[in-house]
Amino acid sequence: MTSVNGVDTAKLSAVVPGFEFDEKADLAQSPAWFLDGTHSVPPWTPLFGWFWINFCRHGMQYGAEKLSLPTVKGWDWRFRNGGGYLTLLLVKSEAEQKQREERFRVAIRPFIDDYDGLWKSQLDEILGRYEKLKALDLDKASNIELLDNFEQTINVCRRMWEIHMYMMYGTFTAYILFESMCRDLLQIDDTNPLFHKLISGFDNKVLRVDKRIWEFSKEADKLGLADVVLKSDPKDLVKNIESAPHGHDFMREFRAFLDEDGWRMQRMSEINMPTWIEDPAPPLANMKQFIIKGGEFNLEEERAKLGEERQAAEKEVLAKIAPEQKGWFTTLLRLAQKSGVFSEEHDHYLDLYMHALMRRSAMGIARRLVGAGTIESADDIFFVIPEEIRKVALAPEQFDLRQIVHARRAAWREWCKTPNPPVILAGGFDMDQAMGVLVKSNDPIALKVVVGSMPVVRPEIKADLHGTCGSPGVAEGPARVIMSEEELADVQPGEILVAATTSPSWTPVFSFIKGVVVDRGASLSHAAIVGREYGIPVLMNVFVGTQRIKTGQRIRMDTNMGALFILDK
C-alpha cells in the first residue's frame, strides 16, 4: 500500500510519462544507469524534471545525430525519485559506425572552418526566441495567451537543448582530439599545467558579469553604502540599501543591470528558487563579499597574466611541433581554446537563461491558478507537470490540483531525505564494467564532463586525499564546505571551497577564494574552467572531500601532485 498524506501515490500520474525508471524493462535495455549527480542532486522538482528528462534527452540524441557521431547516438534518460538516470545509446554494428563516420567528417566541418560564426548564429537564434517569450506581459495576458506562452516555452526549451548538445558534442570532440594530439606529440594530457596554460586566459560572458558586480561594489563604496551593505544580512540587503541615502538610485541601476544579465538561477538545474531579477539578494551578497575583500578586481590582472603565460606556452609547444604539422596543430589549438569559453557561455546563455524563462512562464500560470483556487501557493506549480497545466489552464476554476500537489510535494520531500543511488546496475554487472561502457562509447561529453580521469594514488607523499588537477597550483587555507547554494553567502575571502560540484552561478566567489576541491569533475567541468580563468588551483575527483573535510579545518592542496593534506586533524 503506497500512500503519502492520504493520497494513493499509485493513482498519481507519472512525473515524466514514458520515462519513469522501470527496473525490469530498463535494465533489460541497458545493464547500467548512472545518476546525473552534477544536475539532479538534490532531487529535481517534478516540473523541472519533466523538462530535463524530455529535452536534455532529445537534445543529446539530436546533437549526436546531426553530427553523426560514429559510436554513440546520445544518451537515454529516465526519471527516478527526482534523479536523472542516464545510459548511453551505443551504435551497435561496425557497418553502421563506418557509415556514420563518413557523414561525421562532413558534419563536423563547420566547427573547424568557422567556429565563432557557428556559435554566434546559434546564439542569435536562441536569443531571438527568448525575446519573443519575454514580450508577453503575463499578468495582463488572457488564459489563452498564458497557456500559449507556456507551450512556446516548451518549444524553445526543446530548441535550446538541440543547440546546446550539437554545439557541445562538436566543441568537446575538438578538445579531446587536441588533448590526444598533445599526448602523442608532447607527452602531456589535460591534467598537465602546461596544457592548462595553453587553453586559459580568455574573456567570456560569465566573467564579464562578475566584473560588473565588482564595479557595483566600487559604486556602492563611492555612494557611502558600504557600511549598510556590510552590516546587512543577505536577506535584508535589498530593503536596507533601498532605505539608505542614494540607495534607491543605486538599486535602480543594479536592477537595470539585472534586467540584462540577471536571467539566471541560483541553482544551475532547478527552477524552484527565484531568479536574480526576482530576488537580487544573491548577486548583492556577492557584491558584499567584494567589498569585504577590497582592493582591485583581480580578474583583469589575472587575465593579462594568463594571456602572457598562454602565449609563452604556445611558443614553447609550437617549437616542438614539426613544420609540416604546424598548420593543423595551430588550427586545432585555436579550436580547443574555444572549449572553455563555450562551456561558460553556454551555461549563461542556454541553461541558466532558459531556466529563468521556464520559471517566468510557469509562475505566470501559477499566479492565475492561485487566483482561481486550483492550487494554494505559486510554488505549488513545481509539483504539477505540463500535462496537468494543459488540463486546467484555460478554465482553472473548474479544477482542483491541490491533492496532487500535496502528494507530489510529500513525495519530493521523501526524495530529498534519501539520496538516489549513484548507479543502478543489472544483476551480475559491476561498476568497473559500467565505467567500461562509458569509456567505450567515446562519448565526448561522458568523458570530459561526467567521468574525468581517476586520481593516481602516491603513498610516498602521505596525502590525506588524492584528486586530479583541474587547474594548476598550490594553496593553503581554511576549508569551507558547501553543500547547497544557500550556504554560498557564508564563503569568506581566503578560504578554500570544498563542494560536491560547482555551478556557474557560483563564479563570483571564485575571485576571492584560494582554491577549490570538488568530489567529482573533469577538465571541462565548470569548476576546472573557472578555476583556470581565475588562476586558482582546482582539485577534482576527490570523491569524499565533502565527507572528510570540515569547515574551518586548515587544508593544503597541491594540484600538481594531485594531493590534499588536512593540517588540523
Binding site: 561525421f104 567528417r105 563536423i108 582530439l177 598548420g327 593543423w328 588550427t331 586545432l332 567515446n442
Partner: protein, 343 residues
C-alpha cells in the same frame, strides 16, 4: 643630347620600376619570361619630369603649392582648388615639339610594325608606387594627335584631388609625382579574363582557375556577369568546365569601349577552347615557377592571331589566396576526429 625617356617594352624588366613605373616594368618583365604582351613603348618618369621642367610648368605649380602653405593638408576644399588650378595650367601647356615628335615617331613605328596606320592603342598610367586616384587608362586610342592628348591626360591625373591628398598625407611633395605611361597595341579581343594558379578560396595549389568572357576583360574583373569557369588540374591538365550563360560583354567601338549584349549564338558557348586553356595554363605555370609563388594573371585572346601567338598577357602579379593547406588541414583534423571514435 638629352637623356633617353622612351623605351621599348622588351628593353625593360622588374628592376626598372623607378624608371618607368610598375605597369611598364612588369610588362617588360613578362616579355622576358616569354609571354606575349601587347607590343608598345613606355614613357619614363623622366619624360614627365622633362615636360614639367622644359615648359616651366613644374616651377609654376610648385610656386602655387608653396603659396598655399601647410594648411592645404587639412582642407579638402584647398586640395580641390589646387587640383583645378594645376590641371588648368597643364591644359594650356602643350608638350614641347621635340617631345611630341618623340612620342609620335614611336607610335608610327608601332603602327608600321603591324602595317596598320592609326592603329588603336591603349594609353595607361604607370606609377612607381600604387597611388589611389591616379590610374587613368584610355582604351582604343587612334592616331598620333589622340595619343598625344591621352598621354597628356594621364600626366594630368597626377593632379587629381585624391592623388594630391594621398601625397600630402604621405608627406610626399604635392607638386609632382613619379609617373610613367604605357602606350600599347589594343588587342582585338575575342575573349579575355583571368587565370590563378591556385584556388583562391581554399588555397588548393594543385589546381589553376580560369575565368573568362567574350570580348574585353573588364566584364570579368568588374564582376558584372557570371563568367565561364575552368578548373584545371595542374598535373594532368584535366579540365573541369562550368560554362555560364554570358549575356553582356565589353567591346571596342572604334572610339573607346562599351558594354553590349552578347550575340545570342555565343551566349552559351565556352569562351575558350581546350587548346587555348592548355596554352594559358602552360604559360601561367612557367611564370609561377619563375616567381616561386602562385600567380594572378590577366589574359586576352587576340582574334587576329593564331595560337599560340593569340594568347596575350596584360598583367601578372602574386595571387592573393586563403592560407595554403587550410583545406587540407581541416580535412586532416576531421579525419583525426573521426579516428578518435574508433579507439
Amino acid at each position: 643630347m638629352t637623356k633617353k625617356w622612351i623605351y621599348a617594352l622588351e628593353e625593360l624588366g622588374r628592376e626598372h620600376i623607378d624608371l618607368v613605373g610598375r605597369k611598364c616594368a612588369h610588362l617588360g618583365e613578362m616579355t622576358k619570361l616569354g609571354m606575349h604582351v601587347p607590343q608598345g613603348f613606355a614613357i619614363s618618369v623622366d619624360g614627365f619630369e622633362r615636360y614639367m621642367r622644359e615648359t616651366g610648368l613644374g616651377a609654376r605649380i610648385a610656386t602655387y603649392f608653396a603659396s598655399k602653405g601647410p594648411d592645404i593638408k587639412k582642407s579638402v576644399q584647398s586640395q580641390m582648388d589646387a587640383s583645378r588650378a594645376a590641371k588648368a595650367m597643364m591644359t594650356e601647356t602643350p608638350l614641347p615639339d621635340e617631345m611630341a615628335d618623340g612620342i609620335v615617331r614611336n607610335y608610327e613605328a608601332l603602327c608600321a610594325r603591324f602595317g596598320a596606320p592609326d592603329m588603336p592603342v591603349a594609353v595607361r598610367s604607370s606609377g612607381t608606387v600604387s597611388m589611389p586616384g591616379q590610374m587613368e587608362t584610355y582604351l582604343h586610342v587612334r592616331g598620333a594627335p589622340e595619343v598625344l592628348r591621352r598621354v597628356h591626360e594621364v600626366w594630368e591625373s597626377t593632379f587629381n584631388t585624391r592623388a594630391i591628398a594621398f601625397r600630402l598625407e604621405k608627406g610626399m611633395p604635392a607638386y609632382t609625382a613619379p609617373i610613367g605611361v604605357a602606350v600599347i597595341r589594343m588587342v582585338n579581343a575575342k575573349s579575355a579574363g583571368v587565370i590563378l594558379t591556385v584556388v583562391p578560396t581554399t588555397g588548393d595549389l594543385d589546381h589553376a582557375v580560369i575565368e573568362g568572357n567574350w570580348g574585353l576583360g573588364e566584364s570579368v574583373v568588374s564582376g558584372d556577369i557570371t563568367p565561364d569557369n575552368f578548373i584545371v588540374d595542374k598535373r594532368t591538365l584535366a579540365i573541369e568546365r562550368k560554362v555560364s550563360r554570358k549575356t553582356r560583354w565589353v567591346i571596342s567601338t572604334g572610339t573607346g569601349t562599351a558594354k553590349a549584349d552578347v550575340p545570342f549564338h555565343m551566349q552559351n558557348a565556352p569562351c575558350l577552347d581546350d587548346a587555348e586553356i592548355h596554352e594559358l595554363v602552360r604559360v601561367a605555370l612557367n611564370v609561377e615557377r619563375h616567381f616561386g609563388a602562385p600567380q594572378d594573371m590577366e589574359w586576352v585572346i587576340d582574334r587576329d592571331l593564331l595560337l599560340p601567338d593569340s594568347v596575350v598577357w596584360v598583367q601578372a602579379r602574386a595571387a592573393k589566396y586563403a592560407a595554403p593547406r587550410k583545406e587540407a588541414d581541416a580535412d586532416y583534423i576531421a579525419n583525426q576526429m573521426a579516428r578518435l571514435f574508433r579507439q
